[in-house]
Symmetry: C2
């Protein structure tokens, strides 16, 4: 009997499910995708590079166009916003008042930028950056030659957009509530990032919460206000992170976790609801180190979850056993600020303490290749380990060329539950153009071992 899968949301996660299903199911089975916008399968992570001018057009950020999806047999409906769904009747309501029945439903509604409820937040020229349309709005705003760009928040996106703005010659200020930028790395590394930001001409204001936005007579932003001061601004970009876009799920009574993320099992099934899966930036996912459910919106997870959901839905439709499960994440992330590479995985010190570990934190500085080779750069590797179990809990890197990707070794070690003693003995690649005889991760693991030994 033919069945119908309806997917709400046509970006990375949703389209990965749809494409995966199209490969597995018969042509009698319908795969419908409802996308309220006009874009599909795009890289939100690439938006800052588009703003910077490294990427020429939004089309370049699109992995697969609507036309390609349609040609693949997906019933993709652009400009079609789902306004609700009924898990019992198995129907989705659409903005035109129509309803669509489904046998299986996939929620892939993504995330939306945090817009705190502050005075003036709804003024003009204040943008979050999450969708290609957001990116276009910022590019258009920059084309109007703002005198003062203020980025609120200094996570990766804030940092990347500040870099793009200052590189394009705009007066750029970043306001950060925490004592150092990029608060997902430890302050000792954050200081290095602060220095690099100031070195590029960015005005960095730390320890400062934004209290509101001053608007001119036309409703356009003219300044960002803080407890201490007022910072002139005719373009404001919000880099305060995102929350799950899960209003539809909430209205239907689905279980929600932190930041509104929908709670799913390892097959991306919504717990307690038959025939509903959720994937991507709208779900919470398991942290493999702590076992906690966290909200970690990233394209790489969206793609894996989409793959898992497609496998499980196809198995469900075909009456086969599912083969894939999503094991969760270890909070790996990476970015670059000019030539400074930044990465992290696992838990920071506070996260570790909050999770009930007794963390030991070490940091080492080393060259990024053998010290006798010409012009070695340097990097700082910070490592967090648990005193009792000696387990690796996390690693963070800030440094020059060839520094940050080394965090992947720690990410792999975390997935395997290795101790720092195990990490010290890893057989990592060594040759003078790539590392010293003790590669940076090993140097940090030795320091962690030493700290654990007293």
């Amino acid at each position: 009997m033919a069945s119908r899968v309806v997917v709400i949301g046509g970006d990375a996660a949703g389209m990965t499910v749809a494409a995966g299903l199209r490969r597995r199911l018969s042509t009698h089975d319908e795969v419908v995708v409802l996308e309220r916008g006009t874009w599909t399968s795009y890289s939100a992570c690439g938006i800052p590079y588009w703003i910077a001018g490294d990427v020429g057009s939004p089309e370049d950020l699109v992995a697969r166009t609507p036309a390609e999806h349609l040609a693949n047999g997906i019933d993709l409906r652009l400009g079609t916003e789902a306004t609700g769904f009924d898990p019992i009747a198995r129907t989705v309501s659409i903005q035109d008042g129509k309803t669509l029945t489904y046998d299986r439903l996939v929620i892939a509604t993504g995330a939306e930028p945090v817009r705190p409820d502050l005075p003036g937040i709804h003024g003009d020229n204040i943008y979050g950056v999450q969708s290609l349309d957001d990116g276009q709005a910022v590019i258009d705003a920059l084309a109007r030659k703002p005198k003062h760009v203020v980025v609120v928040g200094s996570g990766y996106v804030g940092l990347e957009i500040a870099e793009a703005c200052v590189a394009r010659g705009f007066d750029t200020t970043v306001i950060e509530q925490a004592p150092t930028p990029v608060s997902i790395v430890e302050p000792v590394l954050g200081e290095m990032i602060a220095e690099a930001m100031r070195g590029q001409g960015i005005k960095l204001i730390v320890n400062t919460g934004v209290t509101g936005f001053a608007l001119d007579a036309d409703g356009r932003v003219s300044a960002v206000t803080t407890a201490m001061d007022e910072v002139a601004a005719d373009l404001v970009i919000l880099g305060l992170g995102v929350t799950a876009r899960s209003a539809l799920a909430e209205a239907a009574g689905l279980p929600l976790g932190v930041k509104g993320g929908i709670v799913v099992d390892e097959h991306q099934r919504v717990e307690g609801f038959d025939g509903i899966w959720a994937v991507g930036d709208c779900v919470v996912t398991k942290d493999r180190v702590t076992g906690d459910l966290i909200h970690l919106p990233l394209g790489t997870h969206a793609n894996k979850q989409g793959m898992v959901a497609a496998d499980n839905i196809a198995a469900d439709v075909l009456g086969e056993a599912a083969t894939l499960a999503f094991p969760g994440v270890v909070q790996t992330s990476i970015t670059k600020f000019c030539s400074l590479e930044i990465s992290r995985t696992g838990l920071g010190e506070k996260q570790a303490r909050d999770a009930g570990f007794d963390p030991v934190v070490v940091s080492i500085e080393t060259t990024n290749f053998a010290g006798y080779m010409p012009d070695p750069g340097t990097m700082t590797v910070l490592m967090v380990a648990d005193r009792a179990s000696r387990r690796l809990l996390g690693a963070q890197i800030v440094g020059a060329e060839d520094a940050a990707l080394r965090v992947d070794v720690a990410a792999t070690a975390l997935a395997a539950g290795m101790t720092v003693d195990d990490v010290v003995m890893l057989d990592l690649a060594y040759a003078p153009p790539f590392s010293s005889v003790w590669s940076p991760i090993l140097v940090a693991a030795r320091a962690a071992r030493k700290a654990l030994d007293g």
Copy 2:
């Protein structure tokens, strides 16, 4: 009661043991190192870069000088060659006829270049490259402006030295017995290396075994002879690998494995001999994937083994429990040929088959960062997996900037015994300047999974 540890050999492995012991033992305990040459603690891996001119002098390759070791309280005796030892009497004989008693003995005699017993092999201007003195000899030979340099063998060292010679403007030929260079990577990758070598102006002759060396009337090499041909040569560099320098160990009846490597346990103790440890290029070590003992001379293993031996000897002296063990290796290695990066870990197809696995081999090509970023390079990742267990068995990479170090993820996964399914789900770092949303190792693991699924 004071004890005496005697270490034979003062390069990386031996001096790591000596320095580790000096930190742990009391000043009453003697740590004696017998080094037949004049250098200590140097990076043999750096020699090709010294020959290339990237490194200014041999002193730059020395991590710690004899003076530093002496200042640390190590009784270092340069120019002192051990000629034998007696495991029962616990004595070492020295070239001057004297003997030295020991309580504990460490053998760290290193490796020596393979010099096949071919006609003319003892002619002048034919060099192996293993020690700093060898490096100096090659540099001196190049200063005499040879007309034709021939490198025999195309392992990493052969490749690195050929690159150095051609970069310095010398006519350079590489003769390789196998169909493709760098036979520790699969032929499909070897072809890429061959192309890069020829692109740099190296004359590469493959499928060709060397049968001897023609010498002129003064005993200097004038040509390298093969079954087919004669290749003019007034400087020959042997890049045929190394064997353990274990004649002393053999004479004393110690157990030897492949390539003459001394057999040791995970504490670097020589099996069946009380009070004798061996470390570095003169030992065989466990392959963690197959469990076999292999000879894998690399500075990174020498350093780890030296650390383990120092810990175990110190524990033995102090009557404490040893804390460290060397778990073995996964055959990770890396090099660079001009801008082409090359790395591998684990087993190749033939190695896997020989070890009793049923290998599935896949290779994928991908960009080294998001395809929409400016000027992405490409890389090929080859992956080997076991059909029955789905275990990852090996990975190999050839590609542009930022390609080769990614092999460390596979090396870590091998140490953890992961399946390719586990690897697909690793939370690896993703951001447009560093990788696509599926990072290259994950793309390869997906291809391997697909091949396993039939």
